[in-house]
Assembly symmetry: C2
Homo-oligomer: 235 residues x 2
């Protein structure tokens, strides 16, 4: 029935109709560019629900995204985009690869938030790249980069504010963008505890994929805790 | 007679008088954060002459530097600055640490030139740091960073044009800045084949410290070739 267009580490993309695709999440967790991998029953359905929640929130705030609808239990129907092969990371606090680079600064607050870029290139392990290099070596348009940066900062602000009201800190997030057929830039990919760091405001407990990366506790337990906090109720 | 203020890897700094210091170059080459080290007779005098040539050129173009005078054979008299603990690198072509990061892009031209920053911190091996992080984590002033960037790009332009007319390509250069007592920003440190990459336009031969780093030929022979090209005549 369904035409598989692409299989990624955490989801499969199927053709769904004219200009539409189905993003079907997988019950698989991976980390460290796929070096660590495990089956995690229930993860797909949770992440699809997080995505629906976050994309609806952003759409309500007039940010253009690829989101069309949530198709329970584990799929999103989205616009088909021509993806920009770049990960745009926004950081509100030092964690992850940044605390590896600057261990003495671990967990420090970043004000204003810091934007980083990574080339999507598994063979090169998604190398970090700076705005200057994107323009002068990889031929990105400076204006388009500023648009991505400003878009990413708005997503960070909206999401960060929303989860804060639920007792959760948004530590950092990774976004990917694409173009619709008319050339406009839309937020694509996913927004979930796979691609964001969420910490309990009070205890600092990780409610995200760091549980899997660094054996910080059961992944599903953390994702369910986050779902409850964000008002998604029982599964 | 002289009051040693500081001994670096390539020079000693002495107090010279009110607000002045003597930068006395050493006949020593180091690389890879001091891991590789050798005595190179004649290097100090050559580098002092390169610095004098380059700083005079920049001063003539109205760029403020710490340079006061050349005191042969191996010293510069300079203003005493409060140094900003940052290396500002300008790249016109992919080489050095950048070609290590992107081997497939080695030697490619960068247009416009790319600016990078490194924290001066030997213990951490001078880590690379981005503008966003300098502001949000290390409390640099955004406006001051833009001033450093624009200053560094001007130095690159003036030096690049000058050596180009002599058949030499300026591939990249590392600059350090400081503040004079009135708070204004001046170019400090040195400008020499220790801190710049210079390639023969025709042959691509390195006329800089890469000869020492990567065993690309006798260092002094390369520095003397560069001196001759730049009109510094015999030693």
């Amino acid at each position: 029935m369904q035409d598989l267009l692409y299989e990624g580490k955490a989801k499969k993309i199927y053709r769904e109709g004219e200009g539409l695709v189905r993003q079907r999440f997988k019950d698989i967790a991976t980390a460290f560019n796929g070096e660590k991998k495990a089956t995690v029953v229930g993860k797909a359905a949770l992440n699809a629900r997080f995505c629906a929640l976050f994309f609806e929130l952003l759409e309500k705030e007039a940010l253009p995204t690829h989101f069309v609808s949530f198709d329970p239990p584990d799929s999103l129907i989205t616009l088909e985009l021509k993806m920009i092969p770049l990960e745009v990371v926004v950081r509100n606090r030092v964690a992850g690869s940044l605390s590896k680079r600057f261990p003495a600064e671990d967990k420090k607050s970043l004000e204003p938030p810091v934007v980083e870029y990574f080339l999507k290139n598994d063979a090169q392990n998604d190398p970090k790249v700076e705005e200057d290099l994107l323009v002068s070596l990889f031929h990105y348009d400076k204006k388009e980069l500023l648009e991505l940066r400003s878009f990413a900062l708005k997503v960070n602000e909206i999401l960060g504010f929303f989860v804060q009201t639920k007792g959760v800190d948004l530590i950092d997030l990774k976004l990917e963008f694409g173009r619709s057929p008319d050339g406009s830039i839309l937020l694509g990919d996913e927004i979930s505890p796979d691609t964001c760091r969420f910490w309990d405001v009070e205890t600092g407990e990780s409610l995200d994929k760091d549980r899997f990366r660094f054996e910080k506790g059961d992944l599903i337990e953390g994702y369910q805790k986050l779902a409850t906090r964000l008002g998604l109720g029982g599964s």
